[in-house]
Amino acid sequence: MGAKSLYLDNRQKYREEIKLTNNLKAIKDIERGFDRFNKYKSFWQVVDLDELVERLFKNPIYENSGQKFTITDLESNYIIYCDNGGSYFRVGDKTIPLEHKGHYLNIDLKPALNEISNGKN
């Protein structure tokens, strides 16, 4: 099973579980991810997750952590955060602290700059 299938399968199971257990907090968390995807998807590129995982990781480790499904490996500086609400993911640089927004990278694996000053978001 490829990364994309694993992510989607995990996402489906997680959503079913939180509905079944009526976990209202988790449901709300998922809804925010869904809302964010709908709000910003026109600004984002469509990317092949399987291709990216194959490029970045030799031995990927997958983990579900509630709002996110993460993919990384012990050798790589990268970590992929797949959202369990919306159909999107972000790439992180493990050498840059999570407290810094520069932790997150664009699709060219460079720090994802904001673009407020030129009118884009």
Partner: protein, 126 residues
């Protein structure tokens, strides 16, 4: 959780370029992960989302634009009275200062909730 408030056009540029240290152009207020989880638990961030049309969320950032900052102040002041807890009042007043500064500067407030850097979600490279 970090809150960014550009004070001028240069501050917006610094924000765009991911400046992480406070400068004369960019105010940055740092809250602890515990403060973030507390504010999230009492639904303050949800309230901001509803009143300001933003999506402040864990592992993400979102902007409260200039036209919504008065809403942010209003809901925060209401919650200070309603919740009536010293810890919340202190944190909420810090947020109000940010909102007011952004209004004065005619910019915006960005809220970045990075969670707990020590969590297993972020695996530090060996």
């Amino acid at each position: 959780m970090k809150v960014y408030v550009p004070k001028n056009k240069k501050g917006v540029e610094e924000f765009d370029c991911l400046v992480e240290e406070e400068t004369s152009n960019l105010k940055i207020v740092q809250f602890t992960p515990e403060d973030y989880f507390y504010l999230n638990k009492i639904k303050y961030l949800d309230s901001l989302n509803v009143e300001c049309g933003c999506i402040i969320d864990l592992y993400e950032d979102d902007i409260i634009p200039l036209e919504k900052l008065n809403n942010a102040i209003e809901i925060t002041e209401i919650l200070i009275k309603y919740i009536n807890e010293e810890r919340f009042t202190k944190l909420a007043n810090q947020m109000i200062e940010c909102f007011k500064l952004a209004i004065e500067s005619k910019t915006f407030v960005d809220v970045y909730c990075y969670g707990n850097p020590k969590s297993h979600l972020y695996i530090k490279n060996k």
